[in-house]
Symmetry: C2
Subunit: 209 residues, 2 copies
């Protein structure tokens, strides 16, 4: 297997943090997004939609969505489960992961990609050009602030995002927060006390240490 | 179990089409979105994020994301599988379902919600108010057109969206297309011949008959 990734980009990090946590070593290939390597003919043969991460399997076929990649890896490497341990828990993790992705990760992504000078016609990931909308960048910054408030609220009584156990929902929330700190200069506030404690706890997890 | 739903809204339909296909009967409660019933205190106790569908389990706890609801139902009712039948297939279905959701469903949702007169401060689903951006409505219409082109391309050689078998990826694509036809008046074009054939094939599936 081979993982096509890009250090520093959020969705690849959602997979590499997952791999670190489980202690899985996979050959990686660095894709130079800044140089547009994901739009090359070679890369399009792996993923016609021109996004990373991509997991190439032994038979040459590829998985190119973060959630699908982690689902496949979880089946291959069930130890240290990060997608839940029974049917109810698996659904709970899927629910919170999806909530984080929609409200947190996409908010930061839209806020960043609709304003970054280097992404003038790339306001969305993928093969198609998309113009930036500055009003959207602003609106998504506000939306991300709501996400931080909601996440802080959620962590009232819950040790981790999906409940008692560390999971991919925590990985995606932490990656979103670190990306927002770098890319749109918004950090959790001092008043987000539960979120701050959770963030510190994550630093002790192998995914982020 | 009890399903809180709203007839005609796309995400509830992603679950009800799934249930129809598998022949599962669940008690349903109609939530009047037009009257704002999803913002009531009673509904917030089920789902603080004020979205449908919500699946309430026997113990009173709730799942409130479409993907999580179907994942849980699939574990309870494995017959007529719609999420794949082995680890590789499950990942493939998850990948294409996520692709449809991000590029198709969200495009229609944004195009509609950023322009509909009745949703002036509800440009995104959820508990928080979000202002409409008309430039975004336009951009998302174009994005949806790209999705139709890409879906037509994808169906070159693939019987269904995720490959040989009918799955939730087809359900979500069909629901997106029907929603777009009604809500933003964009339909697949005559040139989308493979998509048109696939759409007709779906009419023979129990989910849509």
């Amino acid at each position: 297997m081979k993982l096509y990734t890009c250090t520093g980009a959020p969705s690849p990090e959602r997979v590499t943090a997952y791999l670190r946590h489980k202690g899985i070593a996979i050959d990686t290939v660095e894709v130079d997004l800044r140089a547009g390597a994901h739009f090359s003919d070679d890369f399009r043969r792996l993923n016609p939609y021109c996004t990373v991460p991509v997991l190439q399997l032994e038979d040459g076929s590829c998985l190119w969505m973060t959630g699908a990649i982690r689902m496949y890896l979880e089946a291959l490497y069930p130890e240290i489960p990060l997608l839940g341990t029974d049917d109810r828990q698996r659904a709970e993790v899927a629910m919170w992961q999806n909530w984080v992705e929609f409200n947190g990760l996409y908010a930061v992504m839209n806020a960043y990609r609709n304003a970054a000078p280097g992404l003038a016609d790339r306001a969305l990931p993928g093969a198609h050009k998309t113009v930036q909308i500055s009003a959207l960048a602003e609106r998504e910054c506000q939306r991300y602030q709501c996400f931080l408030d909601d996440l802080n609220q959620r962590l009232d009584g819950a040790e981790y995002v999906a409940g008692d156990d560390f999971s991919v929902a925590d990985i995606d929330a932490r990656v979103s927060i670190d990306f927002a700190t770098r890319a749109i200069k918004i950090q959790p506030a001092a008043e987000h006390t539960r979120l701050q404690r959770w963030y510190k706890r994550l630093g002790q997890q192998r995914a982020f240490s």
